[in-house]
């Protein structure tokens, strides 16, 4: 067959595709268990990272801290009722595309390492959309279910140096101490436009990221939407404990 003929080119392309494709399929399958283990570990690290300082901790330490301090994890529905499935069976991005009322919502209860066995923080996973692609994260509330203890945000493809800063500790720590309640009702914790302003006296305002307004808006929407979704859970807990949410 002549090298320039169309059929040569077509057959060549087909063979190339098959060879490359099977190579990639093989590599992907062979490495899958490792990747899954890494992802599971990363999730644990992020859940703990919202409330517990993990700097300088080895992978083994993190595993131990996780088993010691995550004292309960369960899934609730929009009304706050516990569902009979494990948190590992729920995929947050899959739930994200469902209407708020139908979502299955995981909750993690964390103890403070200083006070083992007692629930000190509630961690809620979240999912949203930034400027270019998905953003997601975990928000820890203190035991009063109103004050933010800490946040971890991640992203797939936000602009490095701008929107990608949501993954930095410095940005995440700006949410610490903000309150999601105002007069017994849910209040929206919002990142503001502009950077370098002091919002330390404002319970619901967070200093913004210069040049990343749309990513910040995605972050705000995510927080608003998920606290709305968890409202049923928050009020059921609140009623039992200190009736924080009255609606």
């Amino acid at each position: 067959m002549a090298k320039k003929s169309n059929s040569y080119v077509i057959i060549y392309t087909i063979i190339l595709t098959v060879v490359c494709g099977s190579l990639l399929g093989f590599a992907s399958q062979a490495l899958k268990p490792f990747k899954e283990a890494n992802e599971a570990f990363d999730t644990k690290k992020n859940i703990l990272g919202t409330a517990i300082d993990l700097t300088g901790k080895s992978a083994k330490d993190v595993e131990k801290i996780y088993t010691d301090n995550v004292i309960a994890s369960y899934v609730v529905d929009a009304s706050g009722k516990k569902l009979d499935i494990g948190v590992d069976k729920v995929s947050v991005p899959d739930e994200y595309v469902k209407p708020l009322a139908e979502r299955k919502l995981p909750v993690y209860e964390l103890a403070d390492p200083a006070e083992p066995g007692k629930t000190a923080y509630y961690v809620f996973p979240m999912w949203g959309f930034g400027l270019w692609d998905s953003i997601w994260g975990y928000v820890a509330l203190k035991a009063d279910l109103a004050t933010i203890q800490g946040t971890v945000f991640l992203h797939k493809g936000e602009t490095p140096g701008l929107g990608a800063r949501i993954a930095e500790d410095e940005i995440q720590s700006r949410f610490k101490g903000k309150s999601i309640l105002e007069g017994g009702k849910l209040a929206v914790v919002e990142m503001q436009k502009g950077e370098g302003n002091d919002y330390s006296g404002e319970p619901h305002k967070v200093d913004g990221m210069s040049g990343a307004t749309i990513t910040a808006r995605g972050l705000n929407d995510m927080l608003k939407q998920y606290f709305e979704a968890y409202k049923g859970y928050l009020s059921s807990k609140g009623n039992q404990k200190m009736s924080l949410i009255t609606q």
């Binding site: 320039k4 060549y12 490359c20 490792f34 990747k35 890494n38 992802e39 990363d42 493809g157 140096g161």
Partner: protein
């Protein structure tokens, strides 16, 4: 007849050429300095600016590029006589893309944190002009061994610049090297220079490097 003899001699010469002949050695050493892909040919700048804020990702990126370039150069060179010229760029891209994805999978499996840091940039090795440039300019017309050496030289030339830039950026920007707090360790209170961590800092370092290299080796851009 005379022509035939000449060809035969040429063939003999090629066959008997030692593995590390002067010509072959030059393939590796040239791109390290006089023909460096970043500082002289000014290719691959995008990734050089993006992933050099720290030493570790720069090192992993360098290793990944060495691997991808060597493998794809050798493979392209092996199949160079079968590639239909009308789709040769497509074939080169397919070869590069395959190796890049394999590298990405390996990183995700074994150095997850670094893979997350590098993110899109591993995928972007596919479009790194250095890789495609060497395949198109060298591997499609040469035997596997010289192609391998050429790829090795160019990839190292790229990796060395990444590491030098990352060295200055991490040291001056964060006061650390490979995450190790250098200034703290020797008891100095060092306030990191945030500019060095931004892409602009990389552009400045690369510019200074180009200046230093050219005043040292006397390279002048041909008009």
């Amino acid at each position: 007849m005379a022509e035939n003899t000449a060809t035969a001699e040429e063939v003999k010469e090629i066959i008997s050429e030692p593995l590390f002949s002067k010509k072959n050695r030059k393939l590796v050493t040239d791109p390290l300095d006089g023909d460096n892909p970043i500082t002289v040919q000014v290719l691959g700048i995008c990734s050089a600016l993006a992933i050099t804020a720290q030493m570790k990702p720069a090192l992993v990126m360098g290793v990944a590029v060495v691997f991808v370039m060597c493998c794809s150069s050798v493979v392209t060179s092996l199949i160079r006589n079968t590639i239909p010229s009308s789709i040769r760029i497509v074939v080169q891209l397919a070869v590069i893309a395959t190796f890049v994805i394999v590298v990405n999978e390996i990183l995700l499996a074994f150095v997850y944190d670094v893979a997350k840091d590098l993110g899109a940039f591993i995928g972007l090795i596919i479009t790194n002009c250095i890789v495609m440039g060497r395949l198109e300019a060298f591997a499609t017309g040469n035997k596997p061994w010289p192609s391998f050496l050429d790829a090795l030289g160019n990839a190292f030339g790229y990796a060395i610049i990444l590491l030098i830039v990352a060295f200055f950026r991490e040291l001056l920007g964060a006061g650390s090297l490979f995450g190790f707090k250098v200034f703290e360790a020797i008891g100095l209170d060092y306030q990191g220079n945030g500019l060095m961590l931004l892409p602009a800092g990389a552009a400045i370092v690369v510019g200074l490097l180009i200046w230093a290299q050219r005043s040292w080796n006397g390279y002048v851009e041909e008009a």
